[in-house]
Symmetry: C2
Subunit: 208 residues, 2 copies
Amino acid sequence: MPGTPPAPRARNRDETRRAILTAAQALLADAGFSGFGVNALARRSGFDKQLIYRYFGGLDGLVDALGESLAGWVATHLTPALAQDTGPGYGDLVEAVMLAYLDALRGDSLMQKLVAWELSDPSPQVRRLSDQRARALGELVARLRGDRQPAPGLDAPALNAILIAAIQHLVLTAATSGRFSGLALATDEDWDRAKAMLGRIIRALNAP
Amino acid sequence: MPGTPPAPRARNRDETRRAILTAAQALLADAGFSGFGVNALARRSGFDKQLIYRYFGGLDGLVDALGESLAGWVATHLTPALAQDTGPGYGDLVEAVMLAYLDALRGDSLMQKLVAWELSDPSPQVRRLSDQRARALGELVARLRGDRQPAPGLDAPALNAILIAAIQHLVLTAATSGRFSGLALATDEDWDRAKAMLGRIIRALNAP
DNA sequence: AGCATATATCACCACTCGGTGACATACGCA
DNA sequence: TGCGTATGTCACCGAGTGGTGATATATGCT
């Protein structure tokens, strides 16, 4: 005898869109961009892939929507750790932001996969994701800066780019292999060592 | 009328192996790891994919062979730039090696694709590639070091890991988007700015 | 109540992928 | 010269991909 027919699904465009988007985040977080696609997402979300085309216009549109849904990531994940007062100098602020960013990224597999994606896919949809994150970081620093000034003669944009690059790279490689270039990056203590060095760099370059 | 039958291919195992390996490097260099596979390689090399299985035991074996063929990359690409005398300090040597590595990586699309691959694929074959490169860099520094010593109290492994991470990340993102986190990385002058900051970091941390 | 439409599902397409077994033929050795 | 084997080629498999058209049915409006 056939079982009871499957309960018909409630029909609600907005809710379905949200559900697909949520499933997309989960799928990307644990399969990575190489396993990210229409069929896999349809399987995972439980909705027919046709809906992905209807509601997002295909994968590209979905990535855009994914970007919008993560627009506030930097602000929401970094501000808590930045609530307590940092030291008075510009370097103190940069150090706090960088270390907060490191921890936030380290704890977020989805963001890691996004960064990895950006490194391998030059498509404009994906590039927009990184531009957006970079801008958010800049705005965060600007908002918290007050009247602090980088040391005169310091190329702050270059230094900050180098720091962010190092952080992202260390977090990504640590996620796949737990170490990088002879430096262990598995335990929290391992990471303390890396953080100490980052702090030292920032303080040294911002010294008066 | 049928054209002349295709000239029969010379049969030579070693030569074929080499040709496939060369085609594999070229394929990886311009398609990236996501477009890297048996079928694509067979198309590109002009040989039947069966030979890839027969001579390399599949993709995994091919990657291993690729690694062996690139074992000397660090030495051959960095030593020329390091021929001239560097300054007397340990920091001078590190700076020279880092900048040489940056330029070498920036000019080598294949190596860039390998690094990107390592960031997205935790498989042991791929990880071996990065371990091998890291070890080669370490050996190079050890060979050139002589009796120079890092400043006492400096965590040299941590600093070096951060520098290499930053370099690799900057080169990779620059290759796909020409910029990173508000820092332009397209022209040689752009890169001079990044290099200057790297040098400054190294000198500041190695100051007595 | 009845009807139009938006929502959801199914079935299919052409293509690519990694992988394997069968077959043809050039090469080297006896 | 003939024969065995290594080398190269072809044809196929199942599974997965992005993408599309047709179909069912729940929902909301008149």
